[in-house]
Symmetry: D2
Subunit: 343 residues, 4 copies
């Protein structure tokens, strides 16, 4: 059975594997101070178009989120997120474990707006309440939607005006930056946010997120902070080598594009079949609404998850594609989807 | 220049690499719920000789330490460690970050004794002081020494009597269990301690520590605890596959043995050359005391670290061997050591 | 100007003052181990009708809340509260500071229901989300409403069935238990919840909340937990003496009754004047909706707070009465309210 | 039996009591924003001789310590203390509960020196270890000793040079500043340290420590930090009124002086009797070494604590005097001490 369960079912893209193998018996410095990590950082800086950012490789997304949020807030300060945000729902309280409240606001298609942030600010007026100091967004969002340049710029301007740090979770940034509707570049993002990360785990690496500190004041002592949270890997070069492979040319973006193209093919079939969507399609996560009957039939041949029960007879499901998704499997799914249609 | 800096300079042992490659395009369940992780756990249980332990793969040592200590203590309880313990010195306060004090007692050759623990207990008498509830030891210790079966049994009995949890950090357990003076088996350890881990990172894996929960009451909801601390890897199978390779036969122990044999050859030369030692040699870490002159000369050809300045003219250095250490490099170091001698 | 701002504007009820004075030059044991504290606990146990509860005096409400919640949850577990709950809004993240998420559900008139708790449980299904383990309610609620015996019993039964700890914040318990609609006794509460507190600060004491641990398994080492959070007062007897005064006869309830009667008189005038309410009146907090014009006029003579803007022309305000509220001030307010009416 | 157990056995000095009573039925603003607190702060500022400090009243010492330390350190930073420091031994891990390690160095007569701090700094060299950022001292120390102006100046200069914050715990500052050997003023202290507190609980108040923030950068949002740790009292005016009484004239110092004079009388007798001391006497805590026989005899008439067993036949005990210690009780103790003598 082919799985559209997630984008981390397979190992590493072959080119990353090859480079890991080549470097395998080299002796590297520990803790991310090796030449591969240095080179990878240079490649990423070049793609960003800025030399003045600091880059650190962190093993996983939840760990990166808790690390960033706890590093830059004072104890009484909170982070604002949409209610569907990963940090709010799917991290088992990892942010609160560092002492900080996640203040949530309703999202629009999984996205945050300056208006929503403004409401949270209005509500938090004095020392009897937490003080909002950081805004957390993700691109793509948990619902597979993306921020346009105009939207991100609006949030960025608002945050600057209100002295809020803007943090972008880019676990699926590859998919965001290579989807059809996207008009943002890596460089734009670095200029609009204070800190973000470029997800490796969900785009072809065995593990690793490249955390980019764009704001000068965030850089100090960051290696202490990484170690303090248990996120400093002895063999940091394992992440360094993979990001070297992803960024020495355009591989990172090619992998994101492939995932999107696979999803697009499925989305076309869904549109064609007259299915409706729980969230606007466009990247590597699709959330069509299917009847229970169709879901049961598909589940005999494919693996995927139920997002939410819509009513007695229908549920939103989630199909995820990745750098590793094969055309054969997509065609097989497409065939089934067209066979049943929405009606 | 050849490096004796540590045991995590190289990537993975070729057999692990091969198995990672074979499985690379398989679709695996996420978060450690894959078949490789299951199989690896079965292999390890067989080596331990017990089916009733729970095993979880955690990315790194500091993270495993903070996870274990914070999971099993109530807020006001502390862990006892020797003053040279890794959790006390080299983890940037990662344990305290979870809210728990590390109470230290002086070690003997890096090791803890029931007497030392007893002193800490006597001192902590009431609710104005933290309550000792866990004992942390490591095997090998930070000074490369090991616990004999008698020593570990004595500590284990003492802990049971005093209702203290016993936690063994086995980041270098492979070296401990395969060194000449060792009389402990993996099975002994599982029976004597409440929780321990089998280090992968320092014995041939890209990353990963196999945490073994031996005591029934520690098992409940442990996956929640892993996720809560950001230690649950999306691609948990990357660790599962490697532990599968290490434990399907005797590879884990063979790699430890190799590291020890390489260290032994160097230790022989040091003895022969009349050098003295900062800590009893016997495993893959050696701490000879060398004159500054010799240190400077060696530093032109080899990489290693200074452990501690002994006096104006001498320092203790640290040489570490690993599964990847080559005989050529050892012979080259031996040659130099014999050339200068201690006098 | 007379203040209806809150119920903690004045010092201690004269009888408490008298007893503090009498005991002032006695030599008492420190840290709450004095005879007055013992006696106060005995008095409270008698009112509760149970000898098998443990009682501790804690300086303030926020501190009691953070202490209780952090003491009885494992790191990955959360507490469920209505969105208007004090711990969620007005404690500057004090609960999250101990590492725990507050999961909120919508309230009905400030109150929680088994149905709302059930929804939160349904949503939190696996280790990627926090695990609900405690339910937090307050009586009276933040909106001055109360739980009936039937309502509290329903929540209690539900919590028992789902193995959730039930914690009742009784900062304003005196008002709750002496209001007209109340059908709960102190004894009922002790039998229906696992832990609760009897607020002193808002009912005639200089400071102090009497925390009652009803469930056997919660009692162990609680003094360690108090000290650990900085909540153990050197002069614990200052709280002990005051609770002795409040509970040696019926003073605690008399003070609550007085506050309610004062509020009732105001509520009558509000009803008479045709004003509507933001939340059902009945205890010592009233939330009438007034026109901005009336608010401005009243604000020249009285101090009170704005709860929420309702529309352009009207806001809900909050009037609070207490053990110290004088009839004169109430009559003065009543006179004004009747003068203007709602229309 | 008269107790020399501690300096918090009695309630408040009568003058404080009187002022509490006078203000009892006034309506005050909540949370420390009342006129009494304002006036008290003005009085204290006048004694300090500086208008540019911020003052906050905090209920207890442990809470003040954990609040200060957690407010001004980043997560990976630690505080340095002597091993006998109150935060290290007698606060049940309250500082670690906020995530910070207490790094200890050996003290001299309970006191810290620049040399000892320097050693701790030398040891903590990189991101694998916590980063020292604050120095904690107390005056008087846990052993009743004091810092001279020269000593405090040396530490202050050293801290400034090394960019360490200097925090002075003044739970017993009254005794320190009024003892014979003292050459420091309140003003000196404010100029030499970054943050300190003036203990009320142990010098005549029911509760309360006056925290003084001397350094500009520490002041921001401090009320958020107080609330966040549960240390903001609804009836903050209860502390405000008492500090008003202590500082409107010289009462605070008179009370300290009385305690010292009582101790002095006992110390004279101890000297006369030929007893030796565990720590240099001079303030309101005395630590004579007595034979077990004498201890047993004294224990029939007086309450005091055993500090430490010295050998089989002798122990150091602790006698504490306070503002409330009567001459009669001192004379009774003196009589006994002279009766037995040390030999």
């Amino acid at each position: 059975m082919y799985s559209f369960m997630n984008d981390y079912s397979e190992g590493a893209h072959p080119r990353l594997f090859e480079m890991l193998k080549q470097a395998n018996l080299e002796q590297n410095n520990g803790y991310g101070l090796d030449d591969h990590s240095l080179k990878a950082k240079e490649y990423i800086k070049k793609k960003i178009g800025r030399e003045d950012v600091d880059i650190h490789f962190i093993p996983g997304g939840t760990q990166t989120n808790l690390l960033v949020i706890s590093s830059f807030l004072r104890p009484y300060q909170c982070v604002i997120s949409v209610d569907t945000g990963h940090i709010n729902v799917h991290e088992t309280g990892a942010v609160e474990a560092t002492g900080h409240k996640v203040v949530t606001v309703p999202g629009k298609d999984g996205k945050l707006t300056p208006e929503a942030i403004a409401k949270a600010l209005e509500y938090h007026t004095d020392e009897h309440m937490v003080q909002p100091k950081m805004v957390y967004i993700s691109n793509t969002t948990e619902l597979g939607t993306i921020y346009t340049k105009a939207e991100l710029t609006a949030i960025s301007n608002f945050c600057k005006e209100k002295k809020l740090l803007l943090f972008l979770d880019g676990a699926r940034l590859a998919s965001a930056l290579t989807c059809k509707a996207n008009d943002l570049t890596l460089s734009d993002i670095a200029n609009l946010v204070d800190v973000f990360y470029i997800g490796g785990t969900k785009n072809g690496a065995l593990l690793g997120e490249a955390l980019v500190l764009c704001k000068e004041s965030l850089k100090e002592d960051f290696r202490y902070l990484i170690k303090h949270r248990g996120a400093m890997m002895a063999k940091g070069f394992v992440m360094g080598i993979q990001f070297e492979a992803l960024f020495e040319d355009n591989l990172y973006f090619e992998l994101g594009l492939h995932a999107n193209q696979m999803a697009e093919r499925i989305a076309e079939a869904l549109h064609q079949g007259g299915y409706s969507f729980y969230a606007t399609p466009g990247t590597n996560q699709l959330f069509p609404i299917l009847s229970n009957e169709i879901i049961d039939t598909l589940a005999e041949k494919f693996v995927f998850s139920i997002q939410e029960k819509i009513d007695k007879e229908n549920s939103a499901v989630r199909f995820v594609t990745s750098w590793a998704t094969t055309e054969e499997s997509v065609e097989a799914l497409v065939k089934e989807l067209l066979l049943y249609g929405a009606r």
